[in-house]
Amino acid sequence: MSAAIIEAVDIEKTLGEGVAQVKALRGVSLTLKGGELTLLMGPSGSGKTTLLSILGCMLAPSSGTVRLHGESTASAGPEELARLRRNHVGFVFQSYHLFPTLTAIENVRLVLDVRGEHGADTRTRAADALATVGLAHKHHAFPRELSGGEQQRVAIARAIVGKASAILADEPTASLDRENGQAIMTVLAEIARNPERAVLVVSHDPRILPFADRIVRIEDGRIVSEETGLRDAVISKEPEVTSHVP
């Protein structure tokens, strides 16, 4: 397997103030590698979202270190963390978080725009990303004109268009029915075939299990088990999926 893209070591995170203070993470170490789809599972409140936020440079850990491509993020301020996110991390959220006033292709292009890429090729790249998720025909649709599954696919296109090396998805199928959930997971699994890319999917949905190369279980802010080497078995279970991933 290829190089470590995100390495988190001994992460602790305390959230809230005073009596409401919660130790969300109590010493978690996790490495995301290219070409791997990691499934992070655990009960509600176990710290999954908190861990994903820290891995994705949205939240700073209370202690422990996060390294992105070998570089520590410890000294990074908010603007530097934003720069790391826009250059290396693609997020997929449970509730899509598309911009309602922008069309599908504009939503995808926005990621590039934020990075200062405004050229004509951004349209082509956004179109390619939409084609990857099977939405080549919906460029000019607004989010309200798309189904939940389609909106989530736009969100995935947005996450991959910038060639982010880490795709972090927090409960991406939780708002979708079985069929759409499967479709989304298929796309994410395809993306994870790229050895330059690590995919982390947070979920407590057992239907997702077959798509994982690795399953990490978390409870009460601690990793309790880890299974690896599941990949080949998984892919062969879904032979009908053949979408192209950039």
């Binding site: 936020s53 934003a82 996110r85 959220f93 911009f99 922008l102 934020v114």
Partner: protein
């Protein structure tokens, strides 16, 4: 003042102006719609697309914003336009007089502040080196007896028509030369009703002396609303009851190569109880008396300032609440790695677009106001400089209005996206 305008508004002109306004607004609206529709296929920067969609999505709020800006810009431009009109009007007599230097009674505060000088001083001034000509001017109030028996106060302006010192301008009927005949005057046609006359040839009386109208002007109006009546120098003294050896001002013309300040000093040393002012100084003195001595200027500037404050508050409020509504999107922007600068730019674009839309609508309304007040006592004046200044002011006002919204977005925690 407002009532004055309203009564003077020409109905037809108003209708024409409103039609133009409607047509322009319609065309403009269509153009904007088309532009937005085409934006996705053209090179409009995505950040501008995002800002304009945020703006145009909520129509009610957009309308509020635009009304706020229009109100504010109109208020400011009317106040400043009035100021400019007022400024122009208070010096109109000085502007139309032909003088390099003015010899005025000591303590004169403005043009319409008549006290009298000894006419013999004129000859003393004339003997000074560098002085080419000295023409007397006499000013004073008189009571005009209308043909129907009523009376109204008027302001008599007397100068020798041959001297050309201050003769009526914008003549529409009759002739200046006719003022040489006895018992003749020139008046502005806008004062016909006040003077109880119908036109050329009609006559009133002042101090039991006949005053027959032999010349009619257009647009020589006094902001004091007291009609001006022009007459020859001698006749004017008779109408206002001034002694025969007196004049209000002496208008000095310099010899071609004379040094203005040297001549001015020489005159000042030789003439008692008088001051010698350049035309620019007299203009400035009149202007500052009326604008600042009377509080009129303060009122106009106060109104303008109020307009700016109200506009800023309205725009700030709508921009802030719009930002609050879109806060989840701004958090998403931050989550996908946008810099603070990019987010601030989105808001500033929203502010700028509001400013531009509001400004152009305001200018259309302004055009109507300028048109309908053109012939009024106090016309609202628009100059290219004022238009440019107002545009800058509008943009600045909207940028300042964006501060509250910006303070809100820079505090966004991107992690909130995951808990929504």
């Amino acid at each position: 003042m407002l009532q004055n305008w309203l009564t003077r508004i020409d109905k037809g002109r108003l209708r024409a102006a409103s039609q133009t306004l409607r047509a322009t607004a319609g065309a403009w609206h269509a153009a904007v719609r088309g532009r937005i529709a085409r934006a996705k296929d053209r090179g409009v920067p995505l950040i501008v697309v995002l800002a304009s969609r945020n703006l145009f999505q909520d129509r009610v709020r957009l309308i509020t914003t635009v009304i706020g800006i229009v109100f504010s810009v109109i208020l400011v431009s009317v106040q400043i336009g009035l100021y400019l009109g007022f400024e122009r009007m208070v010096t109109t007599m000085i502007d139309h007089a032909e003088a390099d230097l003015w010899i005025v009674p000591r303590g004169t505060r403005n043009f319409e502040d008549p006290s009298l000088l000894d006419d013999r001083q004129r000859f003393r001034a004339l003997s000074i080196a560098g002085v080419a000509a000295v023409a007397p001017l006499v000013l004073g109030f008189a009571e005009w007896r209308r043909p129907d028996g009523g009376a109204t106060p008027v302001f008599v302006v007397g100068s020798d028509p041959r001297s050309g010192a201050l003769t009526p301008w914008n003549l529409v009927e009759g002739s200046i030369d006719a003022l040489a005949a006895p018992s003749t005057v020139a008046v502005d046609r806008s004062y016909f009703a006040r003077l109880g006359v119908k036109g050329l040839g009609d006559a009133g009386e002042m101090r039991d002396q006949k005053a027959r109208i032999v010349a009619v002007t257009a647009g020589i109006r006094s902001f004091t609303t007291t009609p001006y009546v022009f007459a020859s120098f001698d006749r004017a003294r008779g109408y206002m009851g001034a002694p025969a050896d007196r004049a209000t001002y002496f208008l000095v013309r310099l010899a071609p190569d004379a040094d203005t300040s040297a001549v001015r000093d020489r005159i000042a040393q030789n003439i008692a109880d008088a001051e010698v002012l350049t035309t620019a100084e007299f203009r400035a003195r009149s202007r500052s008396f009326w604008l600042f001595g009377t509080g009129a200027g303060a009122a106009l500037f106060g109104g303008a300032l109020l307009g700016i404050v109200v506009g800023t508050v309205i725009v700030a409020q709508t921009l802030y609440s719009s930002t609050k509504d879109h806060i989840a999107e701004f958090a998403t922007l931050r989550a996908i790695g946008s810099s603070t600068r990019y987010i601030v730019e989105v808001i500033l674009w929203q502010a700028l677009l509001s400013a531009v839309v509001g400004f152009f609508l305001a200018m259309l309304v302004g055009l109507v106001i300028v048109t309908v007040t053109a012939d009024s006592v106090l016309p609202v004046v628009m100059t290219p400089g004022l238009v440019l200044g107002l545009l800058l002011l509008t943009v600045l006002m909207c940028a300042v209005s964006a501060v509250a919204a910006i303070r809100e977005v820079v505090r966004i925690d991107p992690a909130t996206v995951l808990s929504r």
